[in-house]
Amino acid sequence: MTPSTNTLERTNYLNATKGFMSWFWTIDHKRLGLMYMWSVVAAFILGGFFALKIRMTLMPGAVDFASQTAEQMNAYNNAFTVHGAVMIFLVIIPSIPAALGNFVVPMMLGAKDVAFPRLNRFSYHLWIIGALLFTGTFFIGNLDTGWTFYPPYSTGSTDNTVILATLGAFVLGFSSIFTGLNFIVTIHKMRPANMTWFRMPLFLWAIYATAVIQILATPVIGISLLLLLVEKTMSIGIFNPELGGDPVFFQHLFWFYSHPAVYIMILPGMGVMSELFATFSRKPIFGYKSIAMSSLAIALFSFIVWGHHMFLSGQSQLMSVIFSALTFSVAVPSAIKVFNWIATMYKGSVAFTTPMIYGMSIIWLFGIGGLTGLFLATLGTDVQFHDTYFVVAHFHYVMVGSALFGFIGGIYYWWPKMYGRMADNFWTKLAWFMSFIGFNLTFLPQFVGGSRGMPRRYAGYGTEAGYDSFNYWSTIGAMILAVGLTMALGTLIYSMFRGRKAPSNPWGGVTLEWQTPTPPPEHNFEIDAFPVGDPYDMNLCEYNGEEEGFLPVNPRADDPCVADVAIDPVYFEPESENAPA
């Protein structure tokens, strides 16, 4: 039986227009969101291939330490560089903001599109160009600088492939800046009149805070990469001491962007978490204001802690001490969010759906990722852990364990809205289970290896060094993780064609995107007015057995929050070809 609110058999944004150009040249934020999503998945498969290559090289016994050749080492160095650069610039940074953000943000605002739909399309095309530049490096040389591009190695020693890669990162930076800009304007200008800042869903707060970082920090990496190119191509001394430059200067510029960037990666995931915990506990989120404010606090603090990547770089002692103290200040708002999510479950009605299982497991994963950050923020212990596998494990727990799991959880959550079909069954949960086990098996041993001194970015260790068992379990774990993630992808693709047809509101979410049919029409909403009140007032909808989903309950007429509101008060490009009438 098809739920009454399912439009798969009717016109919706997926089938309204057809053909390659109707997607590639679209300005529909939903289509752009989906294209970002699949592009990010493709980039993830590429990065994942190199991850497996890394793990296979490090499997004890796979490569003989004594007879490993320079070519093999170069290939390894290339593998970890491409893996890191692809995963950071092409996968994690655009994952939630560009893919899920594009799909969801305008609908959460009750709007027809983002503020600048054509700029949005341009961002996506920049992403494609950046991705092509990165893949171009495979054909011209051996990119082996690490994703950090530290000079003087990058400007002096290595081959010219690095020019292409930095250009790629530069272009991707603009993609990210434009997306951020678009979201900031959209959120400022296109909220329905009744949606005050403190009635915004927390996902919007998270995306907003992320966008602030994107537009303030990303230009700095752009400039730094240009300076790198100037030094590399024209031998003008900026960072290379042989030419009169200062290599530590680059590290400051690089981390001035890249530390805030780690929050570009995690804040949107935290936003997804807030939505999941509210909807699946069927309860208003606990401590709405402190979650919203902590997103902003994180965004601001993230700008003043970069020096914690440089405790041993030769920067002054005083700087290290200040940066250590400031770093702890970011940990507090992160912890507050976790407590709020858990408190949301208290006396709730917790549903074990696939997205919520991802959400709950992130408490475990982000718990480990965040708590291990404390060891790194503490000066005495960071000396031992810096540039070892301890750091590798730490940032994988936050970037993969939390940001990527948040992305996948978010995909499962909004999937019915995207494709009009459900993906929530035994197999989706089994895929989660495999990924979770595989992930922990891969990265937990690396903490111990790291505290025992195991350096990162090594093409091999030799049995005498005593790190074989960590590498052994990590490689086994990585294989299980690969199976789990592949299965997750499989469940989604299966559901696209065979999944049960979804009602417009399968989970009981009360944010505005659940108030339109599934999949939505081209311009998002069939009605042009809806009530906006408390974004987490779960009484606004209730379960309907025939629909197999939730249907809105008529709002109380006396509620002052509720009023009829035009969909989008400001709309920027009325003349464009696909613009809503």
Binding site: Y153, Q317, S324, G380, T381, S451, Y472
Partner: protein, 332 residues
Amino acid sequence: MNLSALLRAAAWLQQDGDYFFPVEASTNAGEVDRIYYFIFWVSAVSFALIVGATIYFAIKYRRTKVGMNPEDSPHHSTSIEIVWSVIPTLFMIVMFKWGFDDYVDRRTPPGDAYQVNVHAQKWSWAYSYDEGAETGMGWLGGEGEGLVVPVGVPIKLRIDSADVLHSFSVPAFRIKMDAVPGRYTYAWFEATKIGEYPVFCTEYCGTRHSRMLSKVQVLSQEDFDAWMKKQGNLADLPPVEAGQKLFQRKCASCHNMDGSKLIGPALNGLYGKEESLVGGAKVTVDDNYLRESILEPSAKIVEGYPDAMTPFAGQLSEDEISWLITYIKSVK
């Protein structure tokens, strides 16, 4: 991989030290480990609490009927929110302060510390002493002496780099410091146990980063003094031998002397040979060519090799250059 290899791989469990750390072999190591275990237990308890609460709430308040609504409960509490912000902050203040004290101590060598100079270059370590002694990398169980120091004496390391960034790391001492070209950086330690400890390069530096290994040999004061006496000045040796010692230290990470290719070509039998260069030119190897190849390697690149050699201009004395050339000429 078979079982015995796996058991061998698990050998770290029986190595000195505890589960998380290698042996504590410096005066500083114990303190670092104490800070670690403090943060570890605070984290472990916090982790158990948050994960425990998540699991407990998930089970206790699980949805038993589709679409079930929960009873009303508060969704905000200022006092609880203040409590759970302040308590972590207090713990973090302790962590910061303790880590800070240890770090300042690490960065401030005692006035009477004995200085050894550490030289990093792609991809080897060399150590020089004010007494004139110089030693090369050396790896546990391998050739070379590594950094030789007396036990129970504060040692101050002055670290430099000839090419790119490197980092000098001795896990058993819990010390690590980047080597930055164009400036000196410092680290210090006082070894407490006689023995040999691994040294790693922990800042990525190119192809053989993973082979930029070395060791620290901690000797008793008498053994150290005796060792130091035996270290002649290179200038006292015949030029060929001086050249060979220097070659071991500075060049052997990239050049073999047995005809086999490493990063650069083997250098035996090179003198007098006709060498093809990138770009098609040919040169006959003579003293001037060797000199230029060492000081400005980018000037002429050997066919089939990358432009990857460290330029030694400004780093070798005239004597040292001529010893090297004499040595290269001597190996057929």
